[in-house]
Symmetry: C2
Subunit: 315 residues, 2 copies
Amino acid sequence: MKYCAGIDIGGTTIKLGIIDEEGALISKWEIPTRKGENGLLFMKDIADELRKYVDEKEGMEMEDLLGAGMGIPGPVLPDGYVEVCVNLGVKDIYPAKLLSDLMGGIPVQVANDANVAALGEMWQGAGKGHDSICMVTLGTGVGGGIVNEGRIISGMHGAGAEIGHMRVDDEEKEMCNCGGHGCLEQYASATGIVRVAKRMLAHDTSESQMREVEELTAKDVCDLAKEGDPLALKSLSYSMDRLAFILSHIALATDPQVFVIGGGVSKAGTFLTDMIAEKLKSYQSIVDIERYDVTLATLGNNAGIYGAAKLVMPD
Amino acid sequence: MKYCAGIDIGGTTIKLGIIDEEGALISKWEIPTRKGENGLLFMKDIADELRKYVDEKEGMEMEDLLGAGMGIPGPVLPDGYVEVCVNLGVKDIYPAKLLSDLMGGIPVQVANDANVAALGEMWQGAGKGHDSICMVTLGTGVGGGIVNEGRIISGMHGAGAEIGHMRVDDEEKEMCNCGGHGCLEQYASATGIVRVAKRMLAHDTSESQMREVEELTAKDVCDLAKEGDPLALKSLSYSMDRLAFILSHIALATDPQVFVIGGGVSKAGTFLTDMIAEKLKSYQSIVDIERYDVTLATLGNNAGIYGAAKLVMPD
């Protein structure tokens, strides 16, 4: 049996996984992200961890490790160049070349972490059986990944599928973290859902259980919407309408087979994806938008490991 | 020298071109589109024309023709399947297989005509030197083509880059030809530009030279905007703002190197592309949108021939 390593590099923790040729995750573990020396420290840690794994794994030799893929939390150019990644404290590096050199020249690939998660969901998660998907991660922010015919669309400046910062409201006065205003993230992320709900509570005097909650969270809004609280439902509907608006544009840009919804907010389940699918239908046009499935991500935090491994996994 | 044929199949006319390995269009001609027998008639005509060309061309043998590419005016699936193409009166066919069989098995590829035009502009036109572009054709309708890392994004339902039918105004009451409402085409196509101008004339009582024109055209609106007619300028600005809004979404979806503007409306020249670029900047977000060039298409009606040939041209 041959294997690939999938490595999901975050600002605090690095997740490592070993995946076999059949797509099974046979081992996974985490190490802290040791910053410094422009990424060389944590790259050395990764190389050490992988070597140690192979050494200790019975019957496994270095030549059984076909390659390693990495996801990193920042823009990656199609040739693997990373101009800057603030969360990792690196700039002007080719991370894949760095790790490959440390690992005796084995094949290494790198891509943006949200893009890599989409590839993982396509391969072994909610998009299994498809080769073109769009994944949206609704967390603190809104992340995205578009895979077309099996390949990540990284974008020529590493901005592929940066859907959280697509404009959805020209009238928005509050500023997004990115410095723009009216970005999808301001409405459909966990923080965005709360922001929309609070704004609605301030402008709508009708009753709502949301008023009773001390520190309103996206989960509260989703839970109360499920329970039929009219204002929570109205608020969440608006947030998901803004998301569906963007998905309708992606449907007519890269035309994937399926939209996969992940991230903390997606714990609201099919209640949420059904709502998004219904809103998406309302943007019906020349294209029969009803044919797009909207479905829940299934790999959770492992999506990045799967996707990273897939970057180097032979077909 | 080796050659590829590029064939642009329209509802009335078929344009044929022969392009050499260096990308030079060495011959082009047209034949009428003979409909019937589910596409077999015009396919036979194409095969006959190509054979005749090779026969008559001094020093050229059939083995010098490396392949033929086709653009057709309808959705094409990634595997070349065409469910239906109303303009050509065909359904449920694999056009590439059909032509290849008629040509003794030479490689044949097919894609949507707007997508193929984008590939042509990338290869030998305004996108030369790049491998990821988005082309927008502003004609009677609004067509689009997205090329990412040298490959057309056809979309899993053949709806790749159908940007003319992306929603840009939820409040629009008039219906688009597609049955939707608020589609980009209703604002930024030649007919859309006139529609917006007429609506503005009806709701704004200020003076405008546009009122003197008997049958207002998009060219009139562009010309008068250039001359500084305030209402024409306001109207065209609005149309191009809606286009730029969509381009800002594509910038954050497939993140191309350059936006190429073609079609009849693009005859307004850099006045138009400068306006689009300026509007695009106003949708600034996390991504430094200023880095996107907006430039005029250069191949005109030949873009389809170039792009079709490129489908089968070896790298």
